[in-house]
């Protein structure tokens, strides 16, 4: 009963934060910019003769991914850091809401805002592909789902960074996690041949600790309509949830110890 009450509180908190997020001017501007950019694929189409729809798909999926990251960084990090610096958490914690629930609520609200952004962008990509005589629904759903999984992990990291650093630094560290997450696999392969031992160890440690976000990158398969196994989706989901959970648990511990 008590747990049920706590769950309701978390849901309520998540709803309030989500509404706040999507009403933010930054969210509207970012979504607008993403829509314009996806529509710009029509220009690229003109230049890539003979493979028009491919340019739309490539640009669409990239915009989907990058703008989800922007929403996460500029909105998610901003909101939580605002809560922390404005001391509005005092008011929140005077109610029957634990610090852990606040963190979970924030995480869910960020994900909900990202999902809303993905939905808007997916609709535009679908419309553009439809205008070019191709009903491309399965690919968009798969891409949206994989982007959500990636953002799930990154938002957990973003929350962790907000708790341990200034908002600007947290944004930078989240962006860095995205960059490293997408390059660490290739870096590890390249560094394997290297004689530079300290660098080799550093990459090995980073490879072990940081998430490999390339796991969620199935853009080529999606664009070319190649099959992706259900096993892959299952394992990717498991990986994303497990990683996010681990980072969230560490963040909860940090927040519990943090002097507000």
């Amino acid at each position: 009963m008590k747990a049920n009450g706590m769950f309701k509180q978390t849901r309520l908190l998540e709803m309030i934060m989500f509404r706040e997020l999507i009403r933010d001017k930054i969210f509207i501007s970012l979504s607008g910019a993403a829509v314009v950019l996806v529509a710009a694929s029509l220009i690229l189409n003109e230049m890539v003769v003979g493979q028009e729809i491919k340019a739309t798909k490539d640009l669409g999926l990239s915009v989907l991914n990058v703008f989800s990251l922007f929403i996460l960084i500029f909105l998610g990090v901003n909101q939580v850091s605002r809560d922390l610096t404005n001391k509005s958490l005092y008011f929140l914690f005077s109610r029957p809401i634990s610090r852990a629930h606040y963190l979970l609520g924030s995480w869910f609200s960020i994900l909900a805002a990202v999902a809303a952004g993905i939905l808007v962008m997916s609709a535009v990509i679908f419309l553009l592909s439809f205008l070019q005589q191709e009903v491309w629904l399965g690919g968009i759903i798969a891409a949206g789902f994989l982007t959500m999984l990636e953002m799930m992990v990154l938002s957990a990291f973003a929350l962790f960074f907000v708790l341990i650093a200034s908002p600007q630094l947290a944004m930078f560290l989240t962006l860095l996690t995205y960059v490293i997450g997408h390059t660490i696999e290739k870096a590890a392969v390249i560094i394997e041949q290297s004689a530079n031992l300290p660098l080799k160890y550093l990459i090995t440690v980073l490879d072990a600790v940081l998430p490999n976000l390339e796991f969620f990158n199935k853009k080529p398969e999606i664009v070319y309509g190649l099959p992706i196994s259900a096993d892959f989706f299952l394992h990717a989901t498991l990986y994303a949830f497990a990683y996010a959970l681990l980072v969230l648990l560490v963040s909860m511990r940090v927040l519990a110890k943090k002097e507000l």
């Binding site: 690229l44 230049m47 890539v48 003769v49 003979g50 493979q51 491919k54 340019a55 798909k57 490539d58 640009l59 999926l61 990239s62 991914n65 990058v66 995205y178 960059v179 997408h182 390059t183 290739k186 870096a187 390249i190 976000l213 390339e214 990158n217 853009k219 080529p220 664009v223 070319y224 190649l226």
Partner: protein, 440 residues
């Protein structure tokens, strides 16, 4: 008041100075950025590109998008020098294509397009990019087929063409003409044993009765050649002259023609009826139907099939064999020039077309009317506003269009073959002048 005046004057002065500086710098920077056509310096600056591996590393998973952008850049680069494409070197094109395609190796269309464009610039680069595509798509028949095509038509290397066509013939989804072309190319290069091996192989594996019959005929032909001690010889056509009726005459003992075991052959004592300006006219040999590979022109290297007779002298094999060698790319048929050629051009309706850029195609027409002239049979037709087609089909005793039966042609279907050039401003058929060779 005085202070305000001084301040305002200073502000105005600053404004004017800033404006002037802006004007000067803008002028300089604009001139610096202006694209000078074919300027190597401009090209170098605009087309700098890191290696694909490095780009892949920093692309953060957006390889496809970056590949598209580079591909667009490559096409813009090609397009911006399209008018001077015959003289411009395009030295960055291969790098642009290979980088873009290494970033997105699944892009089969991209590889084929790159191969097609590069084949008009540097055949070796075209082969390289197609081999790169082949390394990523080892089971896609189109890559070896295109490489074989380049070897045969551009490098005049029938042996390698046969090898690649054989490779294509072993891949799933290949069209039925691939295996027979493989055998034909081996045969062209004088490698009769390979030709027999390939033909026997496809003969035993095909279940198509029509193909089986065709393979059987080819096998018999090659075996006959092997027995007769035939061999092939590379030759260069130096000149093309003579009435068209002589050029296609099948009589190999015609006193006008002699042949020696030499690498140079010349056609003499003849004036082509459609001469006008070299390149302005072309005549489609009716025999094109037979194997899509007939017709050849001056300045091109051909391969002669020779048979050594019991007395030791050499005899050239049939004309068809000779004519299956080369097409001259400079003889692009230009429909507007029809105005200068004998009047009335008759209607011809296109029944079915398979246009494919730079490739041999076969077109099937329904003949409506014919205009018969002493030197040929003239036909002209527009397939649609987008795909105009015109052809002059010459006639002679060898022709498929039997002179005695010409009047029966209207209403019937004919098939002609040639090259479709989709890359040009308008679609044109490249049709080639058939010639007869003689030795000196």
């Amino acid at each position: 008041m005085k202070r305000i005046l001084i301040t305002n004057s200073l502000l105005l002065l600053c404004f004017v100075m800033a404006g002037t500086a802006l004007y000067w710098s803008r002028d300089f920077l604009t001139a610096d950025r202006r694209v000078v056509p074919d300027s190597e310096q401009t090209v170098e600056r605009d087309l700098y590109l890191p290696e694909a591996d490095y780009l892949k590393f920093i692309s953060l998973g957006h390889d496809g998008l970056i590949s598209d952008v580079i591909l667009a850049k490559a096409l813009t680069y090609y397009g911006s020098h399209y008018k001077t494409r015959h003289t411009f070197t395009f030295k960055h094109l291969k790098k642009l294509f290979s980088t873009a395609l290494k970033m997105d190796p699944r892009n089969v269309e991209g590889f084929l397009m790159a191969g097609n464009l590069l084949s008009g610039i540097d055949v070796q680069e075209a082969i390289d990019i197609l081999k790169l595509g082949m390394s990523f798509h080892p089971q896609h028949w189109k890559f070896p087929e295109m490489i074989g095509y380049i070897y045969f038509y551009q490098l005049k290397d029938s042996a390698n063409a046969g090898k690649y066509y054989e490779l294509a013939a072993g891949m799933p989804g290949h069209p039925p003409y691939i295996p027979s072309l493989s055998g034909k190319f081996y045969q062209e290069s004088g490698r009769y044993k390979e030709a027999l091996r390939v033909l026997h192989n496809f003969y035993s594996t095909t279940t198509d009765k029509r193909l089986k019959e065709s393979f059987k005929q080819s096998i018999d032909e090659v075996e006959k050649r092997l027995k007769s001690g035939a061999f092939s010889l590379q030759a260069e056509v130096l000149d093309v002259t003579g009435p068209i009726s002589l050029l296609v005459r099948p009589d190999r003992n015609n006193p006008q023609f002699t042949l020696a075991e030499t690498e140079v052959v010349t056609l003499q004592n003849a004036v082509p009826p459609e001469k006008v300006n070299d390149g302005a006219w072309a005549t489609l040999k009716p025999l094109l139907l037979q194997d899509h590979l007939t017709g050849y022109l001056r300045g091109k290297t051909v391969r002669l099939e020779l048979v050594r007779k019991p007395d030791g002298s050499l005899e050239r094999d049939g004309l068809n064999r000779l004519s299956a060698s080369v097409f001259n790319e400079n003889h692009l048929y230009q429909p507007p020039d029809l105005g200068t050629f004998p009047p009335e051009v008759e209607d011809l309706k296109l029944k079915r077309t398979h246009f494919q850029a730079g490739k041999i195609i076969a077109l099937r027409f329904r003949v409506h009317q014919l205009k018969q002239e002493p030197e040929g049979l003239y036909i002209d037709a527009g397939t649609s506003g987008r795909t105009p087609f015109s052809a002059i089909i010459s006639t002679d005793r060898l022709a498929r269009f039997d002179l005695q039966r010409l009047n029966q042609l209207p209403g019937r279907f004919i098939t002609v073959a040639g090259f479709a050039d989709m890359a040009a401003d308008r679609v044109t058929m490249k049709i080639y002048l058939p010639v007869q060779l003689i030795g000196n």
